[in-house]
Each structure stands twice: as C-alpha cells, then as structure tokens.
C-alpha cells in the first residue's frame, strides 16, 4: 500500500504537470484479502492490491475528469492531459465553484496495524474454529472473513491536502441445518473487536433453536429487530440531502421542522463517533461536520454540498461527493441514539411477537412514503409469554418505515451493524405480508 509521502509525491507530480487553471486530484491505495467458506470448507480465498488516481481539471467555467490505476510517469501525464482535453470540450457551467484552499481536519483513529498482519493462514484457522462449532451440531457453515486497509487523499493546486487511512475486519457466518439457519456477523476497524468464535457460536445457537420451524400467518405483529435488521431499515432513508428536498424527490420535502418519527428517534451523521471513525472530509475537501438529522422525531437538519449550501446561504456540511455531484450530498456514518434495554428485556416484555435476526433484499417500493419490502432471514423466532418459543418460517414484509419509527417501544444500546451505529428495537404493528419456505 502506498504511504502518505508517496501519495503526496504523486499529487505534487499531477500539480506540476497540469496547465489547467485549477487542478485537483484524488489518489487511493488499498490492499484487501478475503476467505470465503461454504459447506464447511474454504472455496474462495483471494487477495487484491490496487491504486487509483483521478484528476479533475478546470479551465475557466469548464471542468473535465479522467482516471487511471497506473502511476508511472507516462500514465500520470496522460490522465492529466485527458482531463484537460475533456474540460475543453464540455459546455461552460456558470455554477462551477473554485477549488478550496487548505483546510483543517479533525483527527480520527481508524487504522489498526494489527489488521494488516492477518494472514491467509490466520483467517483459515479462525474459519476452521467456527466451522467445527457447526459440525459439532450437525450443521453446515458458510461465511466470509475479510481484512484490509486503504488510504486515500485529496489535493489541489490551491494547496489543499487531505489524507485518510483506515482498516477494517469483517467476519460473518451462516449456520445451516436441513430446515433452519442462523446468522451472526460483525465489522470493525479494530481487530480485537471481532471475535470470530463467539460470532460462530451465536450463528449455531440460532440455527439450532430455529429447527423444525412453524408457519405463522402473515399479519401485523410486534417485532424485536436485532441491530443488523435495524441498520438495513435505516439505510432505506435516502432523503436527508438538501438538493433532493429542493427537487421535491425526498420524503422530507415540505416537512423540515415537522415531527415525522417517534419522540425516541434521534439520528445523526457522525464520522467522529468512536465506532465509526470515518473520513473527516468530503469529496471536495470540506471538513465533515456532525449533523443531527432527526432530533426526537423532528426533521432537524439536512446535509449540504458546497453548491447547494451556497444557494441556501448556509455552510456546507462536508458530505459532498466532489466534482459535479449532480444528485447532492450524502449522509454517511449514521448513528441512531439507543436506549437502556437489553435484547433479553425486550423479549421478556413481549407477550406475543417475532424476533428478527436480519433482513434480506430490501427495496424501496414508494420513496415518498418510505415504504420498503424485504424478507426475514437466518433466525426468525416466535416469542410468547416473554420467551423465545420456537423458530418460524420466514416472511416478506411491506413496511412504512416512518410508521415503524413512530412505534418503537424499547431500544438497546447502539452498536455497529451494517455500517451504521444502531440499537436493537422493539416495534409494534410490523406488517408481514406473505410467507416463504426459504431457509
């Protein structure tokens, strides 16, 4: 992987070659590995080294982009020339903003050198331990264990230089029986936070407990959603972007300042949260701010790129994609404030309900009402009289997410799941619409 100095040298080389009025460049470098297993053996084991250089050239009010993954001198010259050539051909854009000068960024700690040290043999050994847990229970194991690091930098001819280095480790496993399955998974930028053996044990326990599943008719039920299920629901919110609201294609159009969710729902975009430690700048080099999107159920704030912020007379929030970014800013590093309940307390408080481990194949059916469809998967249980009674067959749901987040009765502490920091939650009146025999 390229070092910060090597990346800076490439950036300087781009700036020295370019004859454009303004030039910016992005350089990234990554190394990643992944071991995949199924039917209790390793069937795929891969590694990848890659680099990327993209150059953005501005000539007056015209802008061109070109990119390459070759970093020899000739390739760098060619990509700069291509970006300038494209800029000459593009119609002028009166809204084009000048590049930013140097900025100050907050420190984040998202690189763990011990993740770089994980070898294919280390991954195989961890996988073997998890697989053996399955075999002891007459289950089959399938999953993936990956690790990797990457660094990326943004620079321009006005002296801006932003650098971010991160690492990540991820383990997930599905334990499969003849008529049941169980899943567990976790990601972190810290090696020590991902305990593969414990995750394997959770997946096995779910698969064992959901054997001989019963069929429950579709309908409205109280559900307890584990964090993996909550994260994909929250992901379906796509409307916190100011440009989308301006264009009327967000569910928040005309609703800012209004109560749209329950009192207990507060949602932020926060790359500085200890569990995120995300990139502290956006694609334009704007320092990323912590933004409260929903506060106690009220639509509080949106994220703005430079262009949209200028039109509204506000500061950009540091969520822009860079370059033209015609579809606006994107709220990354989502954090949903949790509660004090444990998953066990939620189950104990439920007379009748459904416990969901995770959802699958979520799609927005109606973006303005945020109605979402998807399936339950890998550990769906019937709760009766405060206890998990038995496994049940999987459901399809069609759920209004705004309605769901207005009916949250209990929440756990938030944790990192599916790239978001979210709690487990107990929700009433969740709308299951059909069933399936799929395991």
């Amino acid at each position: 992987m390229l070092s910060k100095d090597e990346i800076k040298n490439i950036m300087d080389r781009v700036m020295s070659i370019s004859t454009a009025d303004e030039t910016s460049a992005r350089v990234s470098s990554s190394r990643s590995s992944l071991t995949r297993f199924a039917e209790s053996h390793i069937h795929q084991n891969v590694s990848e080294d890659n680099v990327h250089l993209s150059v953005n050239a501005i000539l007056g009010k015209r802008m061109g982009d070109a990119s390459t993954n070759k970093l020899d001198d000739e390739s760098i010259k060619k990509v700069v020339a291509d970006a300038i050539e494209i800029a000459k051909l593009v119609p002028p854009d009166d809204e084009l903003l000048p590049r930013l000068g140097p900025q100050k960024y907050r420190e984040v700690q998202s690189h763990d050198p011990s993740i770089d040290g994980i070898t294919s043999m280390d991954r195989a050994q961890s996988v073997a331990e998890a697989v053996s847990l399955c075999e002891e229970n007459n289950l089959r194991a399938a999953g993936a264990f990956s690790n990797g690091s990457s660094c990326g930098a943004l620079g321009n001819s006005k002296g801006l230089f932003a650098f971010h280095k991160s690492s990540g480790v991820n383990f997930s496993m599905t334990a499969l029986g003849d008529d049941s399955s169980g899943w567990a998974g976790k990601s972190s930028h810290r090696r020590a936070k991902v305990d593969t053996k414990s995750l394997g044990a959770i997946a096995v326990a779910k698969a064992v407990k959901s054997q001989e599943p019963k069929e429950i008719p579709p309908g409205k039920y109280t559900v307890i959603l584990e964090p993996a299920a909550v994260s994909v629901m929250v992901f379906m919110f796509g409307g916190f972007n100011a440009l989308a609201v301006d264009e009327g294609r967000s569910f928040l159009a005309g609703k800012m300042g209004e109560k749209v969710l329950g009192d207990n729902i507060t949602l932020t975009s926060d790359p500085y949260h200890p569990l995120h430690q995300g990139r502290p700048f956006d694609g334009d080099g704007v320092p990323t701010k912590r933004v409260v999107l929903m506060e106690n159920g009220v639509a509080a704030n949106l994220v703005y790129d430079r262009l949209t912020a200028g039109k509204h007379g506000v500061e950009p929030t540091g969520h822009g994609g860079g370059g033209r970014n015609a579809y606006g800013a994107y709220p990354s590093s989502i954090v949903m404030e949790g509660g004090n309940a444990t998953l066990e307390e939620m189950i104990a408080s439920t007379e009748k309900g459904v416990l969901v481990t995770r959802f699958w194949y979520m799609r927005v059916v109606d973006p303005m009402k945020v109605i979402v469809t998807g399936m339950t998967r890998d550990g769906t249980f019937w709760i009766e009289n405060g206890k998990i009674a038995y496994g049940i067959k999987n459901f399809r749901f069609n759920q209004d997410v705004l309605d769901m987040l207005s009916k949250v009765e209990m929440m756990s502490e938030s944790t990192l799941a599916g790239g978001m920091v979210v709690p487990a939650m107990k929700v009433r009146d969740f709308n299951f619409t059909s069933g399936t025999d799929a395991v």
């Binding site: 590694s47 080294d49 982009d65 294919s120 990956s146 997930s172 927005v364 059909s434």
Partner: protein, 478 residues
C-alpha cells in the same frame, strides 16, 4: 504478453500448483451524463491489472495486483500458491476440473463504429437535446440522460495450454424523467429502467436508439402518473412487458440455476436456490409454453463472449424446455456434480481483481405465437405492467415481489386507464406455471442488465435477457 503469462504459470507450477491460470486485463471506460440540460458527469478512465488463480493441494488460491511487471507477477503468483495452501487446511475433497481442450484464439465483439472514436461533443449534444425534450413537460423536476462505453482487452492463459485474447465492447444509453407534484414523485425511463439499454455493440447502437424521439413521451408518462390512480389490490391476469419480463427471468430463472448457489457457496450472502440437483429433469418449472435458453453466442448480448474466464468456449443450451427444468449454469469445478462432462462456460469475473464466479450468461424466454394486440384482446380482467421500479426475492429465489414504473388496466380485451405504483407478488414455480401465452418474435427484444451483483468481495456482471410480452394468470397484485 505471452512472456508475462508464461512467467505466472511457470512460477505457480514450480511452487506446487497442479492448475494455474492468469488473466491480464486492460479496460477503458467513458461515460457522459446530463441532468436538467447541463452536463452532470463526464469522464474517461483506464484500468489495468492481473489475477492469478491456482489449485494447490486440491484447493483454490487467488491473488491480484494492478502493477503488471515481471517482478509483481512472480510475487503475486507465489502469494496465490500460499493462499491456496491456507485453503487446503480446510477442504472436504480435492477440487477436480471438468476437462476443456486448450484453445489458442482471438475473439472480438463485432462492432461497426468504435464509440471511443466518436467525439465527446457529439455525445454531449445528443444527451442535452434529450434533456431539453423532457424538460418541456409540466411537472418534470429532474431530466436525466446518459451513455457509457467499456472496452475490455483480456489475455487468458492456463497451464493446460490455452492462450486466448478477447476484446469485449459494451455500449449503453438511456434517459429518465422524474415528475414531482402533490407530495408524489413518479419516474419513467426509456428504453428501460436501471440506466437504459445496453448491448455488446459499437456506437451504431446509440445512433439506432430512438432516444430523442421518445424523450418527450417518456416525460409525459411520468407527469401523467402523478394523477393516475393507484393500481388496485386484487388477483388478476398479468401481462408483463418485455423490459419487466427481462428482470423476472433474471431473478427467478437466472440466479436459481447458477449451480454454485445451488451447491451452497453463496449461502451466507446472496443465498442458495430452490432448484436443487435432484429436481433436474423432473421439476415442472413452468408451463409447457415456457422455453428458456442460456446463450453466450447470441449476437449483441452483454454476456456474448468467445470464451469464459476459465477458457471454456461459449455455448447455447436450454435451462427450461417445454416447462421442464433441464439445465444449470456451470463451471469446470461444478459441471461434474450434475453429471456433465464439460462446463457450460458460465464463469466470469468482474475485472482482474476478482476471481471468476458462475454468472448468468444471456438468458432468454423464447418467443411464442401471439401478437400483443391479440393477447390484450384475449384478456378480460388484467393489468399490463412494464419497466422495473423495485425488486426483491428471497434467498432461495421463491417468494418475489416486483414493482413497475407504469401499468395499465385491461378490461374486456381493451387496454384502458394508466395506473401507478403497480406491484405484483408470487412464488417462482407457481408464477412460471401460470404463464399461458407469450408474444411472437416481432415483439422479442434483447434487454441488457448492466449491474448484476454477486459474491464477496462484490462483483458486477453484465448480461442480456431476450423477452416478448407474456401473460400470467391469476397473479396477486398489491
């Protein structure tokens, strides 16, 4: 180039690989997009790298790098061998490959006009005119148009003697209009949703597409949908237009017949399949009018190639014949599991960084005898739906639910009022067995899917699905 491929194969073999292959790939991309009469994206991109795949001690290893130099090829080949040795510590049986004769060949996508030689100004001009055509229409808040091109030059070699050079060129273009009003938003796309139309053709494809002619009508439909009634919830006969049917084929026939899914290798992520091996030759997957063919040779298909990424020659075969489930998409490793002596050649990788997986090739529903007019005239109480908007299917590919951009009610043999937010839901075998009529060759179009995701790390593949409108009886409309 052969010196580089030989270096990888010799290095891997010397270090203990019983099988080795290498793919060296150079890819060129160009994309142009416009939004609301302004260029919203434009760029050229180049990418190069190689990947080495080996079998050592009966297990797979793969490593890849963007630096195509001799020293890096030696390092990566050795790393692939080390990774395979780690895989071998947790294996059930040794990997055995179905035989494939070595091939030495050159194959290129046949094209008439190289899109990379067409001036950018020509492309920008067309996209802006399409935008302008859509923006004339009331309620349109976002008008988008885009085109993209990809040229992939690939050298494949293995230690069984194959050396294959292929150049694959894919082109695509499309437009969409977003109408906003009264708290609602509706989108219409042309010629299809999810980016438009895609094929393995040159710029002649873009010149033949009636994008400009259809821009205004596409926008008018989006606007009209704002005021259209919601599609009623009921059981009715469903006629799917070719564009929506293409995705139906993709999700409920293509993915379930990928033999790696069937054998469990996607179980933790994309899922498995209801179409298990004991059902081959026995399951009535669809009604007798349903014939579904996989074809890597069909002209202009997005998955039309000379050879797959294991060096297996392109083929054509039935997945479903007269409704009976008769075939899988296979690889050299999986073909023997279902008693086949040769792979069907369905292994493809997303660039040099990714290991080949079983991917759909072009999969098409063979045309029937009906004209669309006759089919509508023959339908008493039905809904006609087209252009996909939402899609979801369970991990065994049984319970699915699809929504479309637009629908029309059919009453007593006539296509009547426009309907919005149309959604249908069914179970795969039940749905295909309810198919009783398919339109004829005159209505048959090869639709491109340019964004099919699968695998970990994630891979994107392209394929086409040929379809003519077809009728499905008594389907649940939501």
């Amino acid at each position: 180039m052969k010196d580089l491929t030989d270096l990888a194969l010799d290095t891997a073999t010397r270090l203990g690989a019983s099988y080795a292959d290498i793919r060296i790939i150079r890819t060129q991309y160009e994309s142009v997009s416009a939004k609301n009469e302004k260029v919203s994206g434009i760029g050229k991109s180049e990418d190069e790298g190689f990947g080495v795949r080996v079998i050592v001690d009966g297990a797979w290893g793969y490593s890849s790098s963007s630096r195509v130099t001799k020293s890096e090829i030696e390092r990566i080949s050795a790393e692939a061998v080390d990774i395979a040795r780690a895989s071998a510590t947790l294996k059930k049986t040794d990997v055995v490959l179905a035989p494939e004769e070595p091939h030495e060949d050159v194959w290129r996508t046949p094209i008439q006009k190289d899109p990379f030689k067409v001036p950018l100004e020509t492309k920008i001009d067309l996209l802006l005119k399409i935008n302008a055509g859509m923006m004339k229409v009331k309620d349109i808040k976002v008008a988008s148009s885009q085109m993209s091109f990809m040229k992939e030059l690939q050298f494949f070699a293995n230690n069984e003697g194959s050396f294959i050079e292929q150049e694959i060129l894919r082109s695509g273009a499309g437009c969409s209009a977003t109408a906003v009003g009264d708290g609602d938003m509706q989108i219409r796309s042309f010629p299809s949703s999810h980016g438009g139309g895609f094929m393995c053709r040159g710029y002649e494809m873009i010149e033949e597409m009636p994008l400009l002619d259809n821009a205004q009508q596409t926008a008018e439909e989006a606007s009209a949908l704002l005021r259209a009634p919601k599609c009623p919830e009921k059981k009715a006969d469903l006629i799917l237009g070719g564009s929506q049917l293409a995705l139906q084929i993709h999700e409920s026939v293509g993915h379930p017949t990928e033999l790696d899914r069937v054998l469990g290798t996607e179980a933790n992520y994309a899922g498995t399949s209801f179409a298990t091996t004991e059902k081959l030759g026995k399951l009535q997957y669809g009604s007798p009018v349903v014939n579904i063919v996989a074809d890597s040779t069909v002209p202009h298909g997005l998955a039309t190639i000379g050879y797959d990424d294991e060096g297996v020659e392109a083929q054509r075969w039935h997945l479903i014949e007269n409704g009976l489930f008769v075939g899988y998409l296979t690889s050299r490793e999986t073909a023997p599991v279902v008693g086949e002596k040769r792979s069907r050649g369905a292994m493809r990788a997303d660039g040099w960084q990714r290991i080949p997986l079983i991917r759909m090739t072009n999969i098409s529903l063979m045309p029937g005898e009906w004209t669309l007019d006759d089919l509508i005239a023959d339908t008493k109480d039905g809904i006609y739906m087209d252009s996909n908007k939402s899609w979801s299917i369970d991990q065994k590919r049984l319970n699915f639910q699809f929504g479309t951009e637009i629908a029309w009610e059919i009453k007593n043999g006539k296509k009547t009022r426009m309907l919005k937010n149309a959604v249908y839901q069914s179970m795969t075998p039940e749905f295909w067995n309810s198919c009783d009529a398919i339109c004829n060759q005159d209505h048959f179009v090869l639709w491109g899917v340019a964004n099919c995701g699968k695998g970990q790390p994630g891979q994107t593949a392209e394929m086409s699905h040929g379809a003519a409108p077809a009728r499905f009886r008594n389907i649940q409309i939501l």
